[in-house]
């Protein structure tokens, strides 16, 4: 039935110019119908019998949430200090590439290998983020510009490294893709082979906890907040604003880097590619804002986005909703979530008419 409505969408799309209202009515119906699919794909699948398969969507949601949460924290901490870090893409790419390099190149026992790969990835991303912070602190260069530009620089850097067999490229292959990760560098599955959920999610949760403590309990967080709320007052109070910017961008880079690491060592372990960021660097901005830059808010927003992603596949395959409409639905959900008064206005309308 829902499939039929989607076909209705397509049909009406054909005569869009003749009858636009039909089209939008159809879209709306399809969107509405999509929710069930979304739910089935993101939380609980009621169409299968065994419990493990039933809750599998939930674990998928968690898997997708991991990097979104980590990167969301990275963008969020920037916001708390008054910095707009659009550099998630570049930071993730470099983190993924560096972690990947360690992951496929070295031969080490897992206990050393995995942590080393994670730390290297995060450290490289931290430096990349810190670079934007340093430029801001030293020259006043606006972080929005530098991070956007550094995204591209990182992208081409990774692309280049993927053509050098002494760096990332698989020897003997011409494709811009590295070797797969060694088993000792792969984030282990949390719930066994049947589920894709891996340690990356737990790391993201740990990051949430750490960030919560840092922002709400530590003096560093206190100073970051002070700088974010009033750089002038912070300066008079002896807080070195420039140094704080650098620190924040280092931390932000490391957190976004965790998301990148999560990608190469957890979600797609088959090797480093130039697209490993998978748009998460940008999604993280919305996640951070939706979560009001608070660690727990980001956790919630990250879970929501993870659910939207996981559910999106089911929406596409089983409901025949094009991947593009999935994007549309996702963005509408976010917009309306961000504007509770608007939603209230919409839903109050009928009640007013009733009077």
């Amino acid at each position: 039935m829902i499939a039929a409505t989607d076909d209705a969408v397509r049909e009406s799309a054909g005569y869009l110019f003749a009858a636009p209202t039909d089209f939008f009515a159809a879209v709306w119906e399809a969107v509405w119908g999509a929710y069930t699919a979304l739910f089935r794909g993101a939380v609980y699948n009621d169409r299968v019998d065994d419990f493990a398969t039933q809750i599998r969507p939930l674990t998928e949601t968690l898997k997708y949430s991991g990097p979104l949460i980590a990167a969301g924290l990275g963008v969020g901490i920037g916001f708390r200090a008054g910095l707009f870090n659009i550099g998630g893409r570049g930071q993730m790419l470099l983190a993924g590439a560096a972690a990947g390099y360690v992951g496929f190149k070295l031969d080490l026992p897992m206990i050393v290998h995995l942590p080393l790969a994670i730390v290297v990835g995060m450290a490289v991303a931290a430096l990349w983020g810190g670079l934007a912070g340093l430029l801001k602190a030293r020259t006043g260069a606006h972080e929005v510009i530098t991070t956007i530009m550094l995204n591209w620089v990182a992208y081409y850097l990774v692309l280049w490294a993927l053509k050098q067999s002494y760096l990332l490229q698989t020897p003997g292959s011409a494709n811009p893709k590295s070797l797969p990760m060694k088993d000792t560098a792969i984030l282990p599955d949390l719930l066994g082979d049947r589920f894709n959920l891996h340690l990356g999610f737990l790391l993201a949760i740990v990051a949430v906890a750490v960030m919560w403590w840092v922002m709400n309990r530590s003096t560093l967080g206190y100073r970051i907040r002070a700088v974010g709320e009033s750089p002038t007052a912070a300066r008079v109070a002896g807080i070195d604003v420039g140094r704080t910017y650098v620190t924040v961008m280092l931390i932000a880079g490391a957190l976004v880097g965790l998301a990148g690491v999560n990608q190469t060592l957890g979600t797609t372990t088959s090797g480093v590619t130039p697209d490993l960021d998978a748009g998460i660097g940008f999604d993280a901005i919305t996640v951070a804002l939706l979560g009001r830059s608070r660690p727990l808010g980001i956790l919630a927003a990250g879970l929501l986005f993870g659910a939207l992603k996981a559910g999106g596949f089911t929406m596409q395959t089983s409901e025949n909703i094009s991947v593009d409409l999935v994007l549309v639905v996702q963005s509408l959900i976010v917009l309306f979530l961000a504007a509770p008064p608007l939603v209230r206005a919409i839903f109050r309308l009928p009640s007013k008419e009733a009077k």
């Binding site: 397509r10 799309a13 054909g14 869009l16 110019f17 707009f84 659009i86 430029l135 030293r138 020259t139 006043g140 260069a141 606006h142 929005v144 510009i145 530098t146 956007i148 530009m149 550094l150 591209w152 620089v153 081409y156 850097l157 692309l159 280049w160 053509k163 940008f282 901005i285 919305t286 804002l289 939706l290 094009s322 593009d324 409409l325 999935v326 994007l327 549309v328 996702q330 963005s331 509408l332 976010v334 917009l335 961000a338 504007a339 008064p341 608007l342």
Partner: protein, 408 residues
């Protein structure tokens, strides 16, 4: 206090060029083409002995660097003419070296820089206007894309690219309207709305592109291109003519809009009020200016301008819409807004610098630069970082930028 930055940058650049010339000497002539085949006045090609010319220009650079240091020691800023001469000599010297054995069309060097910058300038103007009124517009990308989309369809169905331009403006304004609804009326964080709108537009245009445009490409997605229309007389001036006045009407429109926006923003009542609302909405309110109404109007206009930039993609660069064809230009435009310190002229210059660097990158690669293409492709981005860090420094946004205005 005079900043050390300028003499240092100038010195380092001079040194860098010297090292290039010393380390990678080449032999041969460099041909500079000063006219295009189609030009009215055919200036002859200039053929220079590459290395010798480069060395001469390097010496000019060194002298200018010396003057800059001298100015610094006298605690004076480096005079603008010194910087101008330096920039010219450095670029010319570098090109003399880089183009040895090849042909370099000077006209194309600049004309293409403008062409590459056009959508960025439109986008940046849209951004500048919005932010001047206190509304951060991250949705430039979405406005460009939607503008490109609407322009292609409308121009195809009506058969008139001009109708396409109007549709692009409407499309851009439509996005601005949504931005306004959420950000101004419902106080949703402007950055969220912007980012999400970009995603929304990608989704919508991709969907329609596939479902509607691709199957009906002949009727819906094959607009007539806005072609180059040389301006009589002006277009025949040697060098300048082909660079500035042998462009598409959209580019002429751009000249007009840049001038108009710059003028209106600083010289008219409308501009004064827009700026007031972006700097101190409460103060504007206390003198009876309707803050949110002004903001709405301004972003609608800004959206229309950005939308026009979108039309450049589907009516000028190529004819027809393609999925995600703006490829991040909106974000570069956003950077130009900030780089240009929220000023229409400076933002335009910032976009032009970016356009120049992208074009240079391609030109050098075609001439056979030994640097890997990935690094060449980085050039415009790296140049921007250096320019922002080295020359621009701190920039101050309009004080109320991004802050919704609510009374209590």
């Amino acid at each position: 206090m005079v900043s050390k930055k300028t003499p240092i940058i100038v010195g380092v650049l001079t040194l860098a060029l010297a090292i290039i010339l010393l380390r990678r000497g080449k032999s041969g002539d460099t041909t500079f083409r000063l006219a295009r085949d189609s030009d009215f006045v055919q200036l002859p090609d200039v053929v220079l002995p590459g290395m010798v010319s480069a060395w001469v220009l390097l010496i000019v650079c060194a002298v200018m660097a010396g003057l800059s240091v001298l100015a610094y020691t006298r605690t004076r800023p480096t005079p603008a003419w010194v910087l101008a001469v330096f920039a010219f000599a450095w670029m010319a010297g570098f090109l003399c070296w880089a183009a040895i054995g090849g042909r370099l069309s000077v006209v194309s060097l600049f004309a293409s820089a403008i062409a590459l910058a056009v959508p960025l300038v439109f986008g940046a103007l849209g951004g500048v206007l919005g932010e001047r009124a206190g509304v951060v517009n991250i949705a430039i990308e979405g406005q460009l894309l939607f503008g490109a989309f609407a322009a292609a369809i409308t121009a195809s169905t009506t058969g008139s690219p001009w109708a396409g331009l109007i549709a692009a403006m409407v499309a851009g304004a439509l996005i601005a309207l949504v931005l306004g609804l959420f950000a101004i009326t419902y106080y949703v964080d402007q950055v969220i709305v912007g980012v999400v709108l970009n995603v929304l537009v990608v989704g919508l245009t991709n969907f329609f592109f596939r479902q509607v445009l691709t199957p009906n490409a002949a009727s819906l997605n094959s607009p007539d291109r806005l072609s180059v229309i040389p301006i009589p007389v002006l277009g025949d001036i040697p060098l300048i003519g082909p660079v500035l006045f042998r462009q598409t009407p959209l580019v002429y429109l751009l000249y007009g809009i840049v001038a108009l926006v710059a003028f209106a923003l600083y010289r008219t009542r409308w501009g004064l009020r827009v700026r007031a609302v972006g700097e101190h909405p409460m103060a504007a309110d206390t003198v009876g200016i309707k803050v949110n109404r002004t903001r709405y109007r301004t972003i609608l206009l800004a959206g229309a301008i950005a939308g026009l930039g979108g039309a450049y993609f589907s009516l000028v660069s190529v004819s027809g819409f393609n999925r995600e064809m703006t490829g991040g230009a909106g974000y570069i435009a956003l950077a130009a807004v900030i780089f240009g310190k929220w000023d229409p002229i400076r933002a335009t210059l910032a976009a032009l610098l970016f356009g120049f660097a992208s074009n240079l990158q391609g030109v050098l690669k075609v001439l056979g630069s030994p640097v890997p293409s990935e690094f060449m492709l980085m050039l415009p981005y790296v140049v921007t970082i250096f320019a922002v860090a080295g020359l621009v420094g701190r920039s101050r946004p309009p004080a109320a930028d991004g802050i919704p205005y609510r009374k209590e």
